[in-house]
């Protein structure tokens, strides 16, 4: 606090100067104006959330009227020529690609978070944590470019091997049979996993640091191994916020557009194989929006966007709620 003393003094002096400069009566109206502007900005920032839903619902109205809700959700026909539209393949594509991403990203994020908080020696913690955070900074378009032109060719070399090994297992093998194209549902899931990894692991890392050291050290003192402390002490203690972090990552994965559009192959034919091209709601929007020539086509695309909003809003709401619960309980920002 000592070194903020002189700084504070100059600040107060300039504040005083500012006050002298303004005549008495105008001072108060200026104050009211400032307050009003702040209130207005706060309203504007919050109303956007509701306005988004309302505006998009309004624009999708022609399609809602034509196809209804249930019929649109379960129909898998998407045909601009006959003007028949259904959302089913895209909903499945969105959910499956995000599910693959979560199956891959959650364990890796947990491992990374525990490694950084518990295992890594001090000098390695900061650079590694910084590197993982950098992943979050790379724009999604670069992920897409890299995924299509660099990762997909490499992955198409691995796919025949997947075909031969996992593809031959009865039952589950059905998911892993297909032509080695390098692009498709699985590729999209892998790229999404890399993209959401930094979000999930940084939330986990933050909340693991909130675990009281008394708890952690008691366990170590009783002879617990690092794994036991992580799995039986830290994870149960931070369960709610960790779930919130996973939902946050899921929200990202569901709405991700560019990276997925590049690598998923963009086919609205559904296939049981994860190696086959597919499409998600964001990818079909990115591909077809500017080509939508009729009003019904356009509003059906926006209707898809409305469904996406409905899904992600629930996920994001849960994410914020769960992350905040721990933060409030511990009085720490997570």
């Amino acid at each position: 606090m000592n070194d903020s003393g002189p700084a504070a003094r100059t600040e107060t002096q300039s504040a005083l100067a500012g006050q002298r400069a303004a005549p008495g009566s105008r001072r108060f109206s200026g104050d009211a104006f400032f307050h009003a502007a702040a209130v207005l900005a706060a309203i504007l920032a919050s109303v956007t959330l509701f306005a988004t839903v309302i505006a998009i619902a309004y624009d999708s109205w022609p399609s809602i009227q034509t196809f209804g809700v249930w019929r649109f959700l379960k129909s898998s026909e998407w045909n601009p020529v006959t003007q028949t539209f259904g959302a089913f393949p895209f909903i499945v594509g969105t959910l499956v690609s995000s599910a693959i991403a979560m199956i891959l990203a959650v364990p890796i994020s947990f491992g990374t978070a525990v490694f950084i908080t518990e295992i890594a020696p001090f000098w390695i913690k900061r650079p590694v944590a910084g590197a993982i955070e950098l992943l979050a900074g790379i724009p999604s378009i670069v992920y897409g470019l890299w995924g299509l032109l660099v990762f997909a060719p490499v992955f198409s070399e691995i796919e025949p091997w997947i075909n031969r090994s996992i593809g031959n297992i009865p039952g589950i093998g059905l998911l892993f049979r297909g032509p080695p194209m390098g692009i498709g549902m699985l590729t999209a899931g892998i790229i999404l996993a890399i993209m959401v990894l930094p979000y999930i692991s940084s939330i986990m890392r933050d909340v693991f640091l909130v675990v009281p050291s008394s708890l952690r050290e008691s366990a170590y003192a009783m002879g617990c191994t690092t794994w036991e402390v992580a799995w039986h002490i830290m994870l149960p203690y931070t369960r709610t916020a960790v779930t919130g972090g996973i939902f946050l990552g899921l929200g990202r994965a569901l709405g991700e557009t560019m990276a997925v559009t590049f690598v998923i192959g963009n086919s609205n034919m559904m296939s049981p194989s994860l190696l086959m091209p597919s499409a998600t709601i964001p990818s079909v929007l990115a591909n077809e929006f500017t080509e939508a020539t009729t009003k019904l086509y356009l509003s059906s695309l926006i209707y898809l966007g409305l469904i996406l909003i409905a899904i992600t809003l629930v996920v994001r709401f849960l994410a914020v709620l769960l992350i905040r619960r721990l933060a409030r309980g511990e009085g720490a920002s997570a």
Partner: protein, 282 residues
């Protein structure tokens, strides 16, 4: 007994190795992506990129001047909208709302907006700007980018203003300064490094955003500064050129991606530098 000890030891060692591997996977992909972007980006670098406009399809040559200028205009416009709104909303939270019911509700909504998929915001900007005006426009693109930026600025401003000690605030109030003067001349100044961090992070967030621009600013083959019409911009150029059959267009996509990544990295480093200053002046 030894069996239990052995099992625990083995579980511990194996789990530690797996956690190390998990960390290596993340770092490995980071370096792979950065390395290829650097390799192809530097190979595609050409002076003409900055001085000439995009060549027509099938023609040789390089040029992205129109897209660079367009991206700068889009960013400038979104800063013009996003910074005042974000700053004032964050100020309201920290200086007027405190931890009341309304302020906490606004914080909650803001946190939900923070993770909004950019494609939804793009559709929103289409609905409120493009559809009524009848044209795809750079203006609509900036609206979408500003909406993406605002929650970040709101949150950082709120947090940074809350860090300012109550002593200097009270000292200013005790001298008879009205609240608006206390905020603008005392608390904003004390928190300026932190507020700037938020703006830089917000700018980094929108730098590579492509999805919202597909519904709003589109792209433009030609040089244009008319904000009421489609405008060329770097992210959409990367999208379109990467999928094109022309070698020089693909090369330009890599060069543009490289410049975007470098720009984002510089912004993040700057943001971190300012954030470090926040801690030392406290």
């Amino acid at each position: 007994m030894t069996g239990v000890v052995l099992r625990r030891r083995v579980t511990d060692v194996v789990s530690k190795i797996l956690m190390g591997v998990a960390t290596v996977i993340g770092v490995f992909f980071l370096f792979w992506i950065l390395w290829t972007t650097l390799k192809f980006g530097v190979a595609g670098m050409h002076w003409d990129l900055f001085t000439k406009d995009t060549p027509p399809p099938g023609f040789n040559g390089f040029g992205l001047r129109n897209a660079f200028v367009g991206s700068l205009i889009l960013m400038g416009l979104s800063l013009l909208v996003g910074v005042p709104v974000g700053l004032m909303a964050g100020t309201w939270l920290a200086e007027y709302g405190f931890h009341g019911r309304t302020a906490n509700a606004v914080r909650f909504i803001n946190d939900i907006m923070l993770s909004a998929p950019s494609i939804e915001i793009g559709l929103f900007a289409y609905a409120i700007v493009v559809a009524p005006m009848g044209y795809f426009s750079a203006l609509a693109g900036s609206v979408a980018l500003a909406i993406l930026m605002i929650p970040i600025i709101v949150r950082t401003t709120d947090e940074m203003l809350s860090l300012v000690g109550s002593d200097i605030r009270e000292a200013a109030l005790a001298l008879g300064a009205p609240k608006s003067v206390v905020i603008t001349k005392v608390t904003w100044r004390a928190a300026r490094a932190g507020i700037l961090t938020g703006i830089l992070i917000g700018l980094a967030r929108i730098t590579g955003e492509t999805a919202p621009l597909l519904f709003t600013a589109l792209n433009n083959q030609y040089f244009s500064t008319n904000v009421f019409r489609p405008m060329a911009n770097i992210p959409v150029v990367i999208f379109q050129f990467a999928l094109s059959p022309y070698a020089n267009w693909q090369q330009m996509a890599w060069a543009a991606a490289f410049i975007t990544v470098v720009f984002v990295l510089v912004l993040s480093i700057l943001a971190r530098w300012f954030l470090a200053r926040v801690k030392t002046t406290r």
